[in-house]
Symmetry: C2
Subunit: 406 residues, 2 copies
C-alpha cells in the first residue's frame, strides 16, 4: 500500500500550523506531506500593519519555512498555485502539478474593494511582506519629496486609512507612533501631517463593546488621529479621496490611501468549483468542504458559523491556528484508518486590538474588558504563545514581542 | 563711529568657516557680523553622496549652525537670499533686507545641465540634504516596488550616474556598498541590479593620474559597477537614458539618473551684475570681486587661476576653507583700519577620492600616490581635520569619521 499524499496549499497561520503538527504526529512512513507556498517564508499577517507603518521590521514578522519544518519529513515546494482541481485531486502550480489524497486549503484572503471607483488602482492593501514594505517606503518617499518642492503638496502628508475595523485601527495606532519619527527624519513640521481614518459604519470597531471603542478613539485622537465615521468612500484617484458623509461629498488631498476595510476568500477557491459564500467555503463540522471528503479548509477560506449569534466567525489568526491543530488530528485519524472525525468548535480566548506601542483594548475570558498596558501585554502574550506552538521557545526568543514595557 | 556691518551669505564650507574665524579674531564691539543661510544647519557637501546612497545618515553630515557659532557674537538669520545689490550695499532676503559694509559671498554651486534634454526634469542632483535623502528614498522605493509588480520593471533596478568625475566616482563606490543591503532588504536578486556610470570624457576621473584611474575602475568594476566611458548623454526621460558612444545611440531603461557631471556658480551672482565667468567671479588676489572693494568671495563662486597650469582651480572644500580663513584675516585688518590686504594662494595638500568604505585613491604632498586603505584613512583624516577647525575635538567625536578599519 502506498503512503497517502497530503498536500497543504498556503503557509499562512493555518497551513504552516497544520504542517508543523502533522510533522510531530505522523511518522515519515505513514504519509507523504507536501507544503506549497509562494514565498520561502511564513509571515504573521497580524503584524504586517506594523511593518507597513515602519514601526517593526518585516524580518521580525517572517520566518523561513525551512527553519520551521523538518524537510526530511515534509516536502516544501516554493511555487504559486494557479488552479485547484478537486475532482481530479490535483493542484496546478506555475511550475508543476501535484496529486493528492488529502488536500488542506490554507490560502489567504484577498482584498474586497466593493466596486469603489479607483480603489484597486490607487489604494494600498496590507496583505503581504511585499505590500507592507512598499507602504512603508511609499510614505517615506513622500516625506522625503515634500521639502524638495517649492510648491508644497499636502497630499504627500495626508495619510488616509479606509476602514476603522480591527486592522484599520491597529494601523492608525502604529502610524501615530511613526509620524513623529518621520517628521524628524525629513524636517517636516508635525502639524502639517494628518492621519485620517474613514469608516462607513456608524461606529469605529463595529462589534466591539462601546466602552472599548470610546477608549480606543480617545486614545488615538489624543495622538493626532482624525476619524471620519459614517463616511462612505466614493472614489480614490492618484491624489485624492472622495467620501460622502451626512449626504455631503468631501475630498481629501492624498496620495496614500491604505484600504483596510474588506476582505474576501481566495478567488482560486471560487474557480475550483467549491460551494462558496463570498469567496469562502461553508465547511462541514469537521472542516471538510461540502461534497469533498478529501479536502480540508483552514483559515481565511473556511466559513464557520457562530451558532449563538447566527453570524459567521470573522477569519482570525486565533481560529485558523485552532482549525489547523484540529485538522492535523483528523488527518492523523484518516491516515491511520479511523474515519470518525471530530467536529470543530472554536474557543475564543480573547480579542485584543493594539493602539500603538503600549496601548490596546480587548476582551478576554468571554467578557473581561482590558485597557491600556494590560491589554497591550495580553496582546504580546497571545502573539508569543503562537510562536511557542510553532517553533518552541527558540522562536519566541528570536521573533517574539518581549518588550512589555514599551 | 558705528561698527561696520559684515554680512556673510551662505553657510557652506566657506561661509561658516569665515564666521567661525571672525568670531574668534574680532571683538563684539569691533563689528556686527550676520550670517545668512537658507537652512538652520551647515552641511558637508563632500559627504552628501554617502547620504544619497544611504550608507551614512544625513544627520552625521549636517550640524546646527547655532551649535557652531556663538549667537551672542554673530547674528544668524535663517532666510533665502533673493538678490544681491552691490551698488546699494544690500542683500535682499525672502523675509527682509540687510545692509552691509563688507559682504562675504559664500553661496554654493548650481548644477550645470549643458542643455541635455530632459535632464533637469528627470535627473537627480546631489546638492543638499533634501536632495540627497530624496535620492536615498527614491532608490529604496523602487526596490520595494519591484516585487509588487507581476510585470517586473528593470528600470527600477538600473541605477545610472552621469559623470565619472570626483563626485560620480565616489557615489558609485557608495552604491556598490549599498546595493547588496538593498537586495537583502527587498528580496531582490543582486544580479538584477545594475550600477552604470556614464562619462563623456575619454577617461574616468579626468585630470587624475592614469595609474590611480585604473586602480579605481578595477576596484569598482570588481564590485559590480559598469562604466560607459566616452559616452555622451543625449536625453533623459522618466524611464530611460539615451547616450551616444562611438557614434552609436544606446538606451538604458532607468528611472534613477543621478547627475554628477557639472556644476556652475550661483545665478544670484550673475544677476547681481558682478563680472562672471560661467557663473563664477574671477576674484582679485585678495579674493575681492573686481570693482567692489567691499565684496569678498569664497568657495564655489570664486574663480581663481592655477598659474602653473593656466587653468582655474576646481571649486573644492579644501580651497573654500583656506579662502575663508584668509578672508577672515583680511576682514580683521580692514575693520581695524589696515588696508594692506594679503593675497591668497591655495595650498593643495592632497586630493583623495573614496571608492567605498575602506577603499580610495589619492595624491598627497604634491606627488605621492595613495591606494586602498591608506588613501581611505587619509580621506577620513582630512574630513576630521575640518571638523576640528570648525568646532574642536567635541565636533570630531560627534560627527567625525573614526571608523578607520571599515
Amino acid at each position: 500500500m502506498n503512503n497517502p499524499n497530503i498536500v497543504i496549499i498556503g503557509a499562512g497561520y493555518g497551513g504552516i500550523m497544520t504542517a508543523v503538527k502533522l510533522q510531530k504526529s505522523l511518522n515519515v512512513n505513514e504519509a507523504n506531506i507536501t507544503l506549497v507556498n509562494k514565498h520561502s517564508y511564513h509571515y504573521q499577517t497580524t503584524w504586517l500593519h506594523e511593518n507597513a507603518a515602519g514601526t517593526l521590521h518585516h524580518d521580525r514578522t517572517r520566518m523561513q519555512i525551512n527553519d520551521l519544518i523538518d524537510t526530511s519529513k515534509i516536502n516544501f515546494v516554493q511555487d504559486t498555485v494557479t488552479k485547484v482541481q478537486p475532482d481530479d485531486k490535483k493542484v496546478l502550480l506555475e511550475n508543476g502539478e501535484l496529486s493528492y489524497d488529502y488536500l488542506v486549503v490554507g490560502l489567504g484572503f484577498e482584498a474586497a474593494t466593493f466596486g469603489i471607483q479607483g480603489l484597486k488602482e490607487n489604494a494600498f492593501t496590507i496583505s503581504s511582506i511585499n505590500s507592507a514594505r512598499l507602504i512603508r517606503q511609499h510614505i517615506e518617499y513622500n516625506f522625503a519629496k515634500y521639502n524638495n518642492e517649492a510648491d508644497k503638496k499636502e497630499e504627500r502628508l495626508n495619510l488616509v486609512v479606509g476602514g476603522a475595523g480591527f486592522t484599520g485601527i491597529e494601523f492608525v495606532g502604529e502610524l501615530a507612533n511613526r509620524v513623529p519619527e518621520l517628521c524628524k527624519e525629513y524636517d517636516v513640521p508635525r502639524e502639517k501631517v494628518r492621519i485620517i481614518n474613514v469608516e462607513a459604519a456608524p461606529t469605529a470597531l463595529p462589534g466591539f463593546d462601546p466602552e472599548l471603542v470610546e477608549y480606543a478613539m480617545n486614545s488615538l485622537e489624543a495622538r493626532g488621529v482624525e476619524f471620519k465615521i459614517g463616511a462612505m468612500i466614493k472614489e480614490v484617484t492618484e491624489d485624492k479621496l472622495i467620501f460622502e458623509k451626512d449626504e455631503k461629498r468631501e475630498e481629501i488631498s492624498t496620495n496614500t490611501v491604505v484600504w483596510a476595510a474588506g476582505v474576501q476568500g481566495n478567488s482560486l477557491i471560487v474557480d475550483a468549483g467549491f460551494e462558496t459564500n463570498r469567496g469562502r467555503i461553508p465547511v462541514r463540522g469537521d472542516l471538510r468542504a461540502p461534497n469533498y471528503d478529501d479536502v480540508f479548509v483552514v483559515g481565511d477560506c473556511a466559513l464557520i458559523m457562530n451558532e449563538e449569534t447566527e453570524r459567521p466567525y470573522p477569519p482570525t489568526a486565533q481560529i485558523a491556528i485552532q482549525q489547523a491543530e484540529h485538522t492535523a488530528e483528523n488527518l492523523k485519524k484518516l491516515v491511520q484508518g479511523n474515519n470518525h472525525l471530530e467536529s470543530f468548535t472554536p474557543e475564543i480566548q480573547g480579542t485584543v486590538a493594539s493602539l500603538g506601542h503600549n496601548d490596546a483594548i480587548g476582551v478576554v475570558f468571554d467578557d473581561k474588558k482590558l485597557f491600556g498596558w494590560s491589554a497591550s501585554a495580553m496582546k504580546k502574550l497571545i502573539d508569543n504563545r503562537y510562536l511557542l506552538k510553532l517553533g518552541g521557545i527558540g522562536l519566541v526568543l528570536k521573533k517574539g514581542k518581549l518588550n512589555f514595557f514599551k
